[in-house]
């Protein structure tokens, strides 16, 4: 059933259909209305036996979910930015404890200075945490990926936390006609969570106990193996989703016009739509440009990306974050995946702290790279002229 709803609701409604057992959350802009919607559903008795816990902080919310997940509950939270990094200590533990917590991160910049607006600095900080990470382009994709996230996180071959990244404001606050899923469709795709191990009051267990140097390394090898299996299992889940719903979002990556492209532009999240429009306009002008949309960021589909980029002359990455002291994180991953190839490489950090990225800017960047007018390497997008002063 199609309904015009905001991004928040598209997530909350999908979470409801996944029949969660425990939701714990702490409000933070621009995530708050996801859990407000869920809290309302809970108050209205629409969430079955689900427990909804209002935590005292994001650290508390994540900790509550670690406990709940260890008892075999299906768990969900949403957060972003400072909230996500406050959760990070717990989430990294959850990955090590192999607890399939699903969270939606409504991407927002990091302080300081304080910014409530969108970029990808928050989730990039958790790159190495052991969480699966995907980035969605639209609210329909976000809506559809919630059941996929639970399915893969709870897959006994995987058992890892799963973070869906959706751009704060750009998606969360936007109205979009959403084909809201039916309960039967979600039920047929997502079975009840069958935890391989869980504790009860009668069968207490210790999760993530101490491992001295003669044991620790093996646990991390096992975590890496789980991520490698996750690459296959997630791919399968994407396919199954397409078959069941008829909505095919593609695999780990999606390409357009890359076969004969001289330049391939790479983007993640909601910016992809803008890059796609510009790329197709340039195609119409006869320029050989293509688009590579990265959907899955962890596990990183390196082999697939290398295969797509193997013959291209120029790679151009649109970054939404910066690893200070080096360059943009997506470009770093792409270059690492392309080791052995010798394309020209360019990356541009755009839209930091929610700055608008107009089509003209995307067009200008692609054209300048295509025409060989900029130096290779990392650049910032449009910044105003400034002078550094003390006060």
């Amino acid at each position: 059933m199609k309904k015009v709803v905001r991004g928040f609701y598209s997530i909350a409604y999908s979470v409801k259909l996944c029949r969660p057992d425990v939701i714990a959350a702490y409000p933070i802009t621009p995530q708050t209305e996801i859990v407000e919607n869920l809290a309302k559903m809970y108050a209205d008795g629409e969430l079955g036996n689900c427990e909804y816990v209002t935590a005292e902080s994001e650290f508390g919310a994540a900790s509550i979910l670690v406990g709940a997940s260890a008892t075999g509950a299906r768990t969900f939270t949403a957060t972003c930015s400072q909230g996500l990094i406050l959760m990070s200590e717990v989430l990294i533990n959850a990955a090590g404890m192999r607890l399939p917590i699903v969270l939606v991160n409504t991407n927002r910049a990091l302080s300081a200075p304080l910014s409530i607006w969108n970029d990808h600095q928050d989730s990039m900080i958790l790159r190495d945490a052991g969480l699966m990470q995907i980035y969605v382009e639209t609210n329909q994709e976000a809506h559809d990926m919630v059941p996929v996230a639970f399915k893969v996180a709870e897959n006994p071959k995987v058992m890892l936390p799963f973070m869906i990244n959706m751009d704060g404001y750009k998606l969360t606050h936007a109205y979009e006609p959403i084909d809201l899923l039916d309960q039967e469709v979600v039920d047929s795709f997502l079975p009840p969570y069958d935890p391989p191990v869980y504790m009860t009051t009668k069968n207490p267990l210790t999760f993530g106990c101490y491992a001295p140097p003669n044991y620790y390394a093996e646990f991390r090898v096992v975590l890496q193996n789980a991520m490698e299996r996750a690459e296959k299992e997630l791919e399968k889940a994407y396919k199954e989703w397409a078959e069941i719903t008829g909505r095919d979002w593609g695999g780990h990556v999606v390409t357009e016009g890359v076969e004969d492209a001289e330049l391939i532009a790479i983007a993640m999240g909601s910016l992809t739509g803008m890059v796609r429009n510009v790329v197709s306009e340039l195609r119409n002008q006869g320029k050989k440009v293509g688009l590579l949309k990265i959907r899955t960021f962890r596990p990183f589909p390196a082999k697939e990306i290398k295969e797509i980029l193997k013959d291209v002359e120029k790679i151009l990455v649109f970054e939404r974050a910066v690893s200070f002291g080096y360059e943009g994180p997506v470009g770093m991953e792409v270059k690492s995946a392309c080791f052995g190839l010798t394309p020209e490489f360019y990356s541009f950090a755009v839209g930091l702290g929610g700055r608008d990225v107009p089509g003209e800017e995307v067009m200008k960047i692609i054209n300048e790279v295509y025409d060989g007018k900029v130096k290779q390497g990392f650049h910032f997008g449009t910044v105003k002229p400034f002078e550094e002063v003390v006060v």
Partner: protein, 98 residues
Amino acid sequence: MVMKITLGGVSKPHSSKTMKTGDWGTEYPVVDEEKCTACKTCEYLCPDACIVVVEKEDGKKVAVPDYDYCKGCGVCFSVCPAGAIKMELKEIYKLEVC
């Protein structure tokens, strides 16, 4: 024997007891049994629950640290009202610098 790596490092409770963590610290507390009044302040405040007042054979009660788990944080030393605890540097950390 092949090592068994459980999912998420899940283990039976109390297995942490078999993991001796007393080698983490740099210093260790030494209780002066003459000065100790068995007031239990250290026992209540030790963050690792590893200094306990016990009754010795001669009937005298004194605080006894459990070196298998003591982290050498020095809390017991700083809270003891009788000044009965001093912290000593472990042998392996004694380095002669010329």
